[in-house]
Each structure stands twice: as C-alpha cells, then as structure tokens.
C-alpha cells in the first residue's frame, strides 16, 4: 500500500511549520500561552479538515467529539487518581477519549452518513446540544456541576508534576495531535481513501458507480476526524484546564472556529489548517486586546466572503500559483 517517499514530501512544510512554532514558544519568554493557543487552532483545523475538507460534508456538532474526549480524560483522572497508576492514568485518559469519540462518531455516523448533504447537516446540528443535555439531564459524571480534578491531579502526581502536566505537557500533546492529524491527512490523500473521498466529494452518484463504497469511506474519515478531536479535547481542555463543565465543552462556537480556520486556509488542503489556524489565532489574539468579544462578529462575514469570493482558501490559491514549479511537490 505504501507509496514512494516522494509522494510524502508535503509533510516537510508541515514539520517545519510546527517546528518553528514550537521553537518560538520555547525560546521567547512569555509567549508559550499564545503559541499553545495557536497550536490548538491548527490542530482543531487539521482534525476538522480531515472530514469537512475531504468529504465536503459539514458536521455542525463537531465540538461534541472534543467534549466527549475531554470527559474521557476527566473520567480517568477523577475516578482513578487514588489507584496509584501514576502517568499510566494519562494514557488511559487518552485511550478513553479515543474510545468515547469513536463510539459517538459510530452512533452519529451510522445514521447521518447514510444521508446526503443537507440531511447530514440537519442530523449533526443537534449532536453537541443533545449530548450536553444527556449529561445534564441524566446527571452523568456530576451532570451540570461538572468535574473539577486539579486536587486529584496533585494527589496523584504531586504538585510539581501536576503543574508541569497542565502548563507544558498538555500543550506538547496538542502539538503532537496537530502533527498526527496532518500525517493522517497526507496518508489518506496519497492512498485509496483519499481518491475515494475526492470522488465522492465531487459526485457521490458517479463515485458509487465507479465501485466506491461511499458510506464506508465517509465513515473512515468521520471516525478518524472524531478520534483526533477527542484526543485534542483530552489534552487541550481536560489536562490543561483540570476541570470540565458540559456547557463549556459542548459550546457550538468551537465548531464555528473550526469552520473559519478550514475555510481561511483552504478546505481539503494539507497546509490550509496551519495557515488558517495561524491567521485566525493571531487575529483573535489581537482582536481580544483591541476589541474583546467581537471576534465572531468580525469573522462570520469573513466566512461568507471567502465562500462567495474565493472558496479555495489561501493554500488553494497558492497551490494554483506554484503549479508547474518545483514547489509543487511540497504544497498541497
């Protein structure tokens, strides 16, 4: 199945991009918070793009996967902290996050992925709200009171390690998830999955006639994207913040941010989410200083502008520009 190494060159700019970002974060004092925020946006875009960009389907309830992933990590620490497991607990938390998001994506995907375009969107729009209300309504995992586990972390790991985990290692994992998402995207693009997804994105009926089991490939992309989101929730939210409230982790505005990032960078491209994540992250950071609370009001018209005027996004346009030049091999 593996393709020649040349086909995987585009991972280099990704590696360099994240490398520089990580380097700046480590070298420049006081910028780690901003950098880790940027890495979160890149990772969010990268994971979201794997489904939306590659299939052309939009999942408005996407944040639910981050939400259940957050709960995966939270549950692990909250209930296992006194079992003497040490850092294995973090691994268990990541596994639980992946399992929860897989289960949710299977449940939603089984219904929604049989449906086309508009009906898919309708089926997903309530997923995050629905899940939030299940947790609140049935009082699962403390219901609307949430779970606060900073005390549990200090008991389990000691004060120093607990601090390092939430201040530093959580962000390092976010970088890891972002890179993993990029690797998965490129692997899919270069193998049959990617070609099947391109075909079904362009014309689902024609794809079926070509022998493509469209539901299967949509599900593959959906589950992969969901697992990545779950891992992101487990690291960037649970481990970093050490608490979880249902109203926070199922808030729809994270879906909005994911959409903005993917469209800014270029849906269906490998580098797009990084570019989009950086543009969005930096502008959000400065908007928060000059105009707190205004970022969505400013970005929502920008989404419309991008869709109407340049649906290919930044990297999509760049890709056309470098076509036929040596750079072509690196930018997709």
């Amino acid at each position: 199945m593996m393709r020649p190494v040349r086909a995987y060159y585009p991972i280099l700019p990704v590696l360099i991009g994240y490398g520089i970002l990580f380097g700046i974060g480590q070298m420049v004092p006081g910028k780690w918070q901003l950098i880790s925020q940027l890495a979160f946006f890149c990772a969010l875009g990268q994971a979201f793009n794997l489904f939306m960009g590659m299939t052309g389907y939009v999942d408005f309830g996407y944040v639910a996967f981050l939400g259940v992933g957050t709960y995966g990590m939270a549950v692990s620490i909250y209930y296992l902290f006194d079992k003497g497991l040490g850092l294995t607990m973090i691994v268990i938390g990541m596994i639980l996050a992946a399992v929860f998001s897989t289960l949710l994506s299977l449940a939603v995907g089984a219904v929604a992925l049989r449906l086309r375009g508009a009906y898919f969107a309708i089926a997903t729009i309530g997923v995050n709200e629905g899940f939030r209300f299940l947790i609140e309504g049935a009082r699962i995992w403390n219901g609307s009171d949430g779970m606060i586990f900073s005390r549990h972390m200090k008991t389990a790991f000691g004060r120093e390690t607990a601090m390092a985990l939430s201040m530093k290692w959580a962000d390092v994992i976010v970088f890891g998830v972002a890179f993993l998402a990029a690797v998965m995207t490129l692997l899919y693009m270069r193998n049959k999955v990617g070609y099947a997804l391109t075909a079904l994105r362009e014309d689902e009926d024609a794809a079926k006639v070509m022998g493509i089991n469209v539901t299967r490939y949509k599900l593959i992309a959906f589950i992969t994207s969901a697992i990545l989101a779950g891992l992101l929730g487990a690291s960037a939210w649970a481990l970093k913040l050490t608490y979880v409230y249902p109203t926070d982790v199922f808030a729809i505005h994270y879906t909005v941010e994911a959409i903005i990032i993917v469209l800014l960078g270029g849906a269906g491209t490998l580098l797009g989410p990084i570019v989009g994540g950086l543009i969005y992250g930096v502008s959000k950071y400065y908007l928060a200083i000059v105009l707190p609370g205004f970022q969505l009001m400013i970005f929502a018209p920008i989404i419309i502008m991008i869709i109407v005027l340049f649906p290919e996004g930044t990297v999509g346009i760049l890709k056309k520009r470098v076509f036929g030049t040596p750079l072509e091999k690196f930018i997709i």
Binding site: G117, G137, A138, F294, V308, L309
Partner: protein, 360 residues
C-alpha cells in the same frame, strides 16, 4: 394523578405545537423553493423575540401589535441576506463570481490590516464605535469585491457553501444582537388573564399566540392557492426550469420566498414570546433550530403545511415526554426533553428521511 397531569400537559403541548409549527413553516418554505437549509433559523426566531421584547419595554406595545413589525423586519433581513450572500451561490441565472485576482486579495488584506493598526492606536473608549466601523468596512469591502468580480459561473456552488453561509448569517445576527443588548437573559410580563380548563390553566396570551399561528398558516395557504404570486412560487417548487419556461422570474421568486420565509420565522419569534416571555437572549435560537429541524423532518422538510402538522405532533411529544421524564428520580426532565428531541431527529432520519407525515 399522572393522567390528569399528562392530559393537561398534552393540551399545553398542542397549543404550543401550533406555534412551533408556524415557526418551522419558513424553514420548509425556503428549503422547498431554494433547496437551501437555513442553518441560522433559530437566530431569526431570536430577532423576533427581541422585537417583541423591545417594543413592549420601550413603548408598552402588546406583542400582538409587534407581529406586522417583526414580519417587515424579517422580509427586509431576508432580502438583505439573499442579495448580499445567497444569490451568488444559488441563483439560477448564475450571477456568481469569477476566480479572484490576487491583487484584490492583497488590497483587501491591506485595508483590514490598516484598520486594525488604526484601531490599535485609538483608545479603548471607542471600542464599540470602531468595532462597528470595522464591521461596516468588511461589509463594504465585500460589496466592492462582489461588484468588481461579479461575473457568471457555470456550475452551482456545492451544498456545503449554502449551509456555511446560512450558518454564518445566524452567527452575525447573534453577535450583533449581543453587542447591542448584551448577552443577559431578559423577560417581560404581559398579563391579560387566564382560562381555567380544569386539567390545566391557559393564559390568554398563549391562546392568542396559537390562534395567531393558525391564522398565519391559513393565510399562507390561501396566498399559495388563490393569488398569482403564490401560484408562481408553487410552480418554482414543482419544477424551476418549467416555471422559467412559462415566464416566471425564478430569480425573483427565490428572493421573494427567502424573505417570506425569514419574515414568517421572525414573526414566529414574537408568537413564541407570548408563550415564554422570559430567557430572551442572543443565543436562545439554538434549541429552536434543533426543534425546527425535528419538526421539518417530521413533515417532510419541503412542505410548509407538513411543518405545521409536524409542529403539533412535536408539541405533544415534547410535553408528553416531559411529564414522563419527571416521574423518574435522578433525571432532570427539562434537559432530558431536549436530549429526547435530538434522539427523535436521528430516529426519524434513520427511518424516513423524506418525512413521516404525508401532507401535500
């Protein structure tokens, strides 16, 4: 005991359901004519609720009289968003955009950066003022680019595009209302007496809202059946190519049905405040979007009358399930009812994506 409670709640549900039905007719109308799912649906309901609230608070106008105002606001917003955002994507005559020139992108980015820099040096006291300036500048820039690059494109934009655009329209409305009125929940009290039915008590406001919904549904029906304009719109639903051949201006019908649909939706926001005059906030639309989708899918998505009956069914199911969930210890019935409506949506889509009710 439980049966008395249940029958009382079901009666309440039926009355509320008629308003739900009316709140979904606009969604179905827009899907029927334009094949566009208005993902920002709930935000328009919110606009209606704020219209009702503001008129009552500022001038003591009873919500009934806010109905025509809300309808006019809705029609205007509909026209604005149709021509400003949706037309390039869905118009059958294809007034889309040619591929974009890099110079324009650079220029746009330049203007934005310049604006940001200017704002950085102006003091924080002018925040709102400059936010609005920036907002207007983006809109202006957008219109300018649309004007320069407005050409014709052959293929229709993918469905993804209209979903994301209507979603963004919802976000714009929510954020604008938040900036104007803050995100705190507000309420008002319009008390005009109650009707005691034994099993339950119905305030007259609810009865008026229900009656209003029914009237609007009947008027819409008559408009579709008896007027030239209504028949032209129906012909577009049936077959837009055929309609064009017969001399119907399909482009204009798209604009008209979108704004009519938005007008109905904003109006329904007023009617809903007669039921629930509290908790009015910029983000109140989300749950209504979900409910409306359940209702629309129940009724077959493209049929406004199906939506109306779907609303009645949904009102019954919602209040019935609330009563049942309330019987269980350890459940919060309000949250469970909302979870239940989400499950219901998935189940209906699994069984019959084209709708459970057969209403033409």
């Amino acid at each position: 005991m439980i049966f008395e409670q249940l029958s009382g709640n079901l009666l309440q549900g039926l009355v509320l359901g008629s308003v739900y039905g009316m709140a979904t007719m606009g969604l179905s109308l827009i899907f029927g004519v334009l094949q566009v799912v208005n993902v920002g649906h709930g935000a328009f309901i919110m606009v209606g609720a704020f219209t009702s609230l503001m008129m009552f608070q500022a001038a003591g106008v009873p919500p009934v009289l806010a109905i025509p105002v809300a309808f006019a606001i809705g029609m205007a917003l509909g026209m604005l968003f149709y021509f400003g955002a949706l037309k390039p994507l869905v118009s059958p005559s294809g007034s889309g955009i040619k591929s974009l020139d890099m110079r324009a992108v650079g220029m746009g980015a330049g203007i934005l950066v310049a604006l940001l820099v200017v704002m950085r040096f102006l003091s924080a006291a002018f925040k709102l003022h400059f936010a609005i300036t920036l907002f207007v500048a983006i809109i202006f820039l957008y219109g300018f680019l649309l004007y320069i690059y407005g050409g014709r494109r052959q293929d229709k934009a993918p469905e993804l595009a209209t979903l994301l655009v209507t979603f963004s329209i919802g976000v714009i409305l929510e954020e604008s209302v938040k900036q104007l009125f803050t995100s705190e929940a507000r309420g008002f009290n319009w008390a005009i007496g109650k009707l005691d039915l034994g099993v339950t008590v119905l305030p007259y406001t609810k009865l008026i809202a229900s009656f209003g919904s029914l009237t609007i549904a009947v008027l819409l029906y008559l408009w579709f059946r008896k007027t030239r304009a209504g028949m032209a719109m129906r012909s577009v639903v049936e077959d837009d190519v055929g309609a064009r051949v017969c001399g119907v201006n399909v482009d204009w019908q798209y604009a008209l049905s979108f704004s009519l649909g938005i007008g109905l939706t904003v109006t329904s926001g007023v009617l809903l405040t007669m039921f629930i005059p509290v908790g009015i906030n910029p983000y109140m639309g989300g749950p209504y979007t979900l409910k409306s989708f359940v209702i629309a899918v129940l009724g077959g998505l493209a049929s406004p009358y199906g939506a109306f009956f779907g609303g009645l069914v949904f009102g019954l199911v919602e209040n019935g399930s609330y009563t049942l969930f309330a019987q269980f210890q350890g459940l919060e019935p309000f949250a469970m009812t909302r979870f239940f409506s989400f499950v219901m949506l998935l189940v209906i889509l699994l069984l019959r994506p084209t709708g459970l009710l057969k209403v033409k």
